[in-house]
Amino acid sequence: MGILDVKNVSKRFGGLKALSDVNLSVKENTVHAIIGPNGAGKSTLLNCLVGKLIPDTGSVMFDGQSVLGRAPYEINQMGISRVFQTPEIFGDLTVFENMMIPIFAKRDGSFRMHAYETVASEAEMVEQAEKMLIDMNMIDKRHMHAASMSRGDKRRLEIGMCLSQQPRLLLLDEPTAGMARADTNNTIDLLRQIKAERDITIAIIEHDMHVVFSLADRITVLAQGTPLVEDEPQNIRGNPKVREAYLGESA
């Protein structure tokens, strides 16, 4: 039993079978990578985990509770945070305000009408946000408009926002997609640091093998909607089945 258990999950879009009979178990405090060629069903699987899609069959259990049928905000309240392929942040707000929102959400739940206090008067929350900004090495950017930052900084902010809620499971959807090499390496370093410093489980979907092999404790290879193999990184590297799935029959 892992912290996240996916059992017999299938999902169909019309005639296309996006996922068929996926079984997956993510162990607590590990980094679990899900890789696979385009169209393997990685994103569909992720969307089933966070409540964006509901699978046709099967079950998804997080920490012994089913996530199926719950709205994304409820799943987040259970302790799953998601980082998107293109950073989803509050572009119109400042970096500091961006960081305050998840902290308020963690304390107050999905809705609370806090109209008496001011944002600045919530000293404890401000302190938490500032601490996270220092951890993320962004404190000097606190007054910047989030939309005006570089892609790497947006990603860093988004990860910081997720971490500020102290999630038990962090889901990353191609966190380095479209990034320059330097930004990619920075992100890898950041994720390594997070893994070393925090009690957190990370599930990561990634295209870039460099990222996967530098981070993952365990890798699941997905092809045509089903898990091909699940093993440790050093065994995946030489696996002929994986090479075939990635490079086609001729390889």
Partner: protein, 400 residues
């Protein structure tokens, strides 16, 4: 002060001074002078400035913060007016119960309309609110005649019960609205030289309520709740994945802004106790959108400026007629005078909408942030040229 930071306190004090001194500020031209028709310092118009200011402040809480563009806010204005007039008919001519009821009823009304409309966003939300407002208008105009008195409009009469008051005054006329005996229409005129300044109880009642409404809106803007509303505008996806349910936030904002509109409608009835269906028409809903955008959506003071601007045009420009224009252009040769007056005539009087439309287009194109952005640019330009002058001074020094 009052839980505001220094900048907001300054803003509140400046607005308070401007509103409370409005009878002076809006009356710059001496009585009887040629420019006197541009004076706006009479109670009727000043009341409209502040009442529509309240309406726009409330609208801005919804549109400015969450980005949801409601095209049906006039429905709440109308509901507020009807509630207030009913209170005058049934209970007493005191404005307090009337205002309380109009806020409550429009709040309930907003909860119902918001609950349905907020299931959609963007243009679909706007169309839903517009549909609801037009339905309300038609209901008020015909179907609900027993409650709204149809096209005549709801008015007071000598047969009204007025449980806590009297049906008629001693001399047999309909009593007037008051605040614990202080009549709303009571006014004092002060003559200073050629200037005549008017101070009315009605205006100051509205002004104080508007300042309270403005203060509350600052508090909402600066609160964690206000931050969440701005987050709704910025990225709903991220909100959902941050464990926040956006629906109750938008609904609360919608209800608050509906209550502001109801308050404005109630005050309109307090100043002039009648309510008609035309107050709910879609043009009235559009007007508050114009006010907010013209002044600067999402800014604190913008909606108030926008409301003042539009109401000024509506009341002052619409009063200029052909003979006034003839007077202005009498220095021109005869044929030219006729031509100029003929052109100008289309922009004043009943054609004031044309002037307003052109100004609105200019503001939206050149000042997307509204009048507030205009003010900021002027401020930056002044302080920038000062800095430049200073820089030039320091530059020339070494040359000596």
């Amino acid at each position: 002060m009052f839980g505001l930071d220094k900048k907001d306190t300054t803003l509140l004090i400046v607005v308070a001074l401007m509103v409370l001194l409005a009878p002076f500020i809006l009356n710059p031209f001496p009585e009887g002078s040629a420019m006197a028709q541009f004076n706006a310092g009479y109670p009727d118009l000043m009341q409209r400035f502040v009442i529509f200011g309240i309406f726009a402040i409330g609208f801005n809480i919804l549109f400015g913060l969450t980005g949801y563009l409601s095209f049906g806010h006039a429905a709440f204005l109308g509901v507020g007016s009807y509630s207030a007039v009913w209170m005058f008919k049934l209970l007493s001519m005191n404005i307090i119960p009337a205002i309380v009821l109009s806020i409550l009823v429009s709040g309930i009304f907003a909860a119902v309309i918001g609950f349905v409309s907020l299931r959609r966003s963007g243009i679909y939300f706007s169309i839903l609110t517009l549909a609801f407002a037009q339905m309300s208008y038609n209901l008020a105009y015909s179907v609900l005649t027993p409650i709204t008195n149809g096209e005549t409009g709801l008015q007071l009469s000598l047969n009204d019960p007025r449980i806590l008051g009297s049906s008629a005054t001693a001399d047999g006329s309909i009593p007037v609205t008051s605040l614990f005996g202080l009549e709303m229409r009571a006014a004092e005129q002060i003559q200073i030289g050629p200037w005549a300044f008017q101070f009315s109880v009605g205006f100051y009642t509205c002004a104080i309520i508007m300042l309270i409404a403005f203060y509350l809106s600052i508090r909402i803007f600066r609160s964690p709740f206000g931050l969440m509303l701005r987050a709704v505008k910025s990225n709903q996806q991220r909100m959902n994945y941050t464990g926040l349910n956006t629906r109750p936030y938008t609904l609360t904002a919608f209800i608050i802004s509906g209550m502001y509109a109801g308050l404005a409608g109630g005050l309109l009835a307090c100043m002039d106790p009648l309510a008609g269906a035309e107050r709910m028409q879609w043009t009235a809903s559009g007007e508050v959108v114009l006010m907010t955008i013209l002044g600067g959506a999402g800014t604190l003071i913008g909606p108030v400026l926008g409301a003042g601007f539009i109401k000024y045009f509506e009341n002052i420009f619409s009063k200029i007629n052909e003979s006034t224009l003839d007077g202005w252009f009498s220095f021109l040769p005869d044929g030219l005078q006729h031509a100029v007056v003929w052109v100008a005539d289309h922009f004043v009087g009943s054609g004031w909408h044309l002037t307003l439309g052109i100004l609105f287009m200019l503001v939206v194109i050149f000042l997307p942030g509204g009048l507030v952005e205009g003010g900021q640019r002027i401020y930056a330009w002044i302080s920038g040229s000062k800095r430049k002058a200073k820089a030039a001074e320091t530059k020339t020094e070494p040359a000596e």
